[in-house]
């Protein structure tokens, strides 16, 4: 009787296509995956412990290092949590600038998501085009906040620098480029039969499974559940902007790819509206130097690029938070990895990693 034996293949933490230091223990029968167990913690810096011994202002630069590809959304989440705790009212102009920056960062992060998906499937040209288009966004960020990746731009009570005319000009130029490069990806990737055959029907997930696994963000919306906190909570000025939420049907890699592509178009629409509606005025509220929020706790959640990003802050009335817990979307989405890789081949596990699009800084916190 033929006896086959399963073997353990260790993918990572040093591997070209596990995004960052992610190690996945694959139990394989030939090339078919029986079990995929992610091993986390290689990039654990203990940010929650660090934040307990720093003032609220000093905690903000650490949120840049959580999801270092969309650090603007992390600042946004933390700043909103502290403002709700301390009862600070942010001026309207700052709210609009924050939404513009967060949406630019969402496009920036989805471009990397799609670029790495294309590169993991072999089309490195697709990745080069994504990184070329990303440079235009980085120029805007460089112009407005002086940094290209860890911005520390959205502060408690407003934003650090004003949205200059040069930045507006660069943003307008970028908004014209968006439909052009989206159609270029459609020609290069979406229409490509090899690309579609590699991701259609791969690691599909039903809506019930996704909800049970507490998944959020594009991974959940790909399964058909239209839950987007920008619409649900309508925080900041999202309530006044009209945009729709792209939703997939089967929850496979193809739908995740399509949801990200459509979300980029939606973000461009949001930026367009914000540019028109942005009033003149202050960009920073009156915030006391020694900010002492009242004793109590707050949990504020925002729609990060990879899902629901929540900040739970317990304050004991001093200038330093007593406890900060960060609900990190990539960390919770990693639970879906095993379900997505089971029964697939090694080649598909790679496309599963890049369609969950985890950022290890955020997963290991």
């Amino acid at each position: 009787m033929k006896r086959t034996e399963t073997y353990l293949l260790n993918m990572g933490p040093q591997h070209p296509s596990t995004h960052g230091v992610l190690q996945v223990k694959l139990t394989l029968d030939g090339e078919r995956i029986l079990k995929a167990e992610p091993v986390l913690g290689y990039l654990h810096r203990g940010i929650e412990k660090l934040m307990e011994s720093r003032t609220y202002f000093q905690c903000l630069p650490y949120t840049d290092r959580l999801d270092y590809i969309s650090s603007m959304n992390n600042n946004f989440g933390f700043a909103m949590a502290v403002e709700e705790l301390a009862g600070i009212e942010v001026p309207r102009r700052a709210e609009f600038i924050r939404v513009i920056m967060a949406e630019l960062n969402r496009i920036n992060s989805h471009l990397i998501g799609i670029g790495t998906l294309a590169n993991d499937l072999g089309a490195s040209t697709g990745m080069l085009y994504c990184f070329r288009d990303r440079e235009y966004i980085l120029d805007i960020f460089n112009e407005v906040c002086g940094a290209r990746q860890t911005f520390h731009y959205i502060r408690i009570g407003g934003v650090a620098g004003d949205f200059t005319d040069k930045a507006r000009e660069l943003t307008e130029a970028f908004l014209e480029r968006v439909p052009k490069f989206l159609s270029e990806y459609d020609q290069l990737l979406t229409g490509n039969e090899i690309f579609t055959r590699r991701i259609i029907g791969i690691s599909a997930m039903t809506a019930k499974e996704a909800l049970d696994l507490n998944m959020t963000g594009p991974n959940l919306r790909a399964t058909g559940v239209a839950r987007d906190l920008r619409k649900l909570d309508g925080y900041s000025v999202y309530g006044e902007l009209d945009f729709d939420i792209p939703v997939g049907e089967h929850g496979d890699n193809w739908d995740r790819y399509q949801v990200k592509m459509k979300e980029m178009a939606e973000s461009a629409k949001i930026i367009r509206q914000c540019l028109d509606k942005m009033p003149e005025g202050l960009i920073m509220a009156k915030v006391p130097k020694m900010l002492k929020p009242p004793k109590g706790e707050v949990y504020s959640r925002t729609e990060g690029t990879r899902g629901e990003l929540g900040f739970y802050i317990v304050s004991d009335g001093t200038t330093k938070p007593y406890r900060v817990h960060i609900r990190r979307p990539s960390f919770v989405n990693m639970q879906g990895l095993d379900l997505m890789c089971r029964g697939m081949l090694i080649g598909d596990s790679v496309s599963a990693y890049s369609s969950i699009d985890p950022i290890m800084g955020e997963v290991d916190c």
Binding site: S17, L121, S124, I194
Partner: protein, 347 residues
């Protein structure tokens, strides 16, 4: 066998040596040695030019400039720099590797890659080994390239290499059949397996690419699969199994694998030119072997163009595509050629 520039040169040389030494055996031997030296020169030249060409083509397609640092504005010395870098790399032998097999596999891979060049008609009459069963011998030899990959994969004691080794065996064997069947149509038309006859049969502009378009498509896809290049570069799918069989090789050993890969690439291009693009035939303002060179380089560019546009297919997709699509199509092509030839009464 008309006299072309190259074969004329060869005959003149043979006459000179015979005049010098007076022994016919010595002049044939000298000519063969010169031929072999020339062929090895062509292979190493091809490897050097194509490493540079591939980087430039890849860069241009990815909106980049490509190497422009080493050697002038166009980075012409880049391949030399690569070679020096590879030579200076430490030669690491993985622990627990099967030393003999491990060392042997790059050398063994290079043998069929180089041997195949003896049969190509670079110009009318300019063939090192003029064999009248050229096509048959050609594919018999190039079929040997499968084993060294597997040996490399098995011997380097690394799970990724093992998986790469299995993949290479399944892929190359399953594309051997469509490759051969696609050429059957041509053999039926020319009636002989001698490569020069096939080229001569295409004289007068009637290239087989126009007569056998389906066969050309099948041949091209199978040739790309044989040389393990995208969209079938599963063997060294770097994002999945790092570099397949040659993960554990470094320095000159890896360079040998690399050399063999580019030799195979040039073989695929030359086969496509000889069978479908009329080899050395062309309007006579250029000598035969220059036409041959232009067509071969053009085919190499097309294969490189594939590499920098398409993603990688999955293992089971390759096998189903190979067996369920390529093979039946090539057999259909043979059947169609037969029907057409009967209709035209050529049989």
């Amino acid at each position: 066998m008309e006299i072309s520039f190259l074969s004329g040169l060869a005959l003149w040389l043979r006459g000179e040596i015979y005049a010098l030494t007076g022994l016919p055996i010595l002049s044939d031997l000298a000519l063969d040695i010169i031929g072999i030296a020339l062929l090895l020169g062509i292979i190493s030249m091809a490897a050097i030019v194509f490493t540079y060409g591939e980087r430039k083509v890849c860069a241009f397609m990815q909106v980049r400039i490509g190497p422009n640092r080493v050697g002038g504005r166009f980075g012409l010395l880049q391949p030399v720099a690569d070679m020096l870098k590879l030579m200076s790399k430490e030669d690491i032998v993985p622990e627990g590797a099967d030393k003999v097999l491990w060392a042997l596999s790059p050398a063994l891979l290079f043998v069929p890659a180089a041997l195949v060049y003896a049969f190509f008609p670079f110009d009318a009459g300019a063939v090192l080994a003029d064999v009248n069963v050229g096509v048959f011998l050609l594919f018999a030899i190039s079929g040997q390239a499968v084993l060294p990959f597997l040996m490399g994969g098995y011997a380097s004691n690394n799970k990724y290499s093992m998986v790469g080794g299995f993949r290479v065996v399944s892929q190359m064997i399953s594309y051997e059949a469509p490759l051969l069947f696609s050429l059957l149509g041509i053999l039926m038309i020319t009636g002989s397996m001698r490569l020069e006859d096939i080229v001569e049969a295409q004289s007068g502009g009637l290239w087989f690419i126009f007569l056998q378009p389906l066969a050309f498509v099948i041949f091209l896809i199978s040739a790309v699969a044989e040389t393990n290049r995208t969209p079938f570069d599963l063997v060294e799918g770097e994002s999945e199994i790092i570099a397949g069989p040659f993960t554990e090789y470094s320095g000159m050993r890896w360079a040998l694998f690399f050399l063999a890969e580019y030799a195979n690439l040039l073989t695929a291009a030359i086969l496509a030119t000889t069978f479908f693009l009329g080899g050395y035939l062309g309007p006579d303002f250029l000598p035969g072997f220059v036409w041959f060179g232009i067509k071969a380089v053009l085919m190499v560019f097309v294969i490189m163009w594939f590499r920098w546009t398409f993603p990688r297919t999955r293992v089971d997709q390759i096998l189903t595509f190979g067996w369920k699509a390529m093979l039946p199509l090539s057999i259909l092509n043979v059947f169609l050629t037969g029907v057409v030839m009967c209709a035209l009464g050529l049989v």
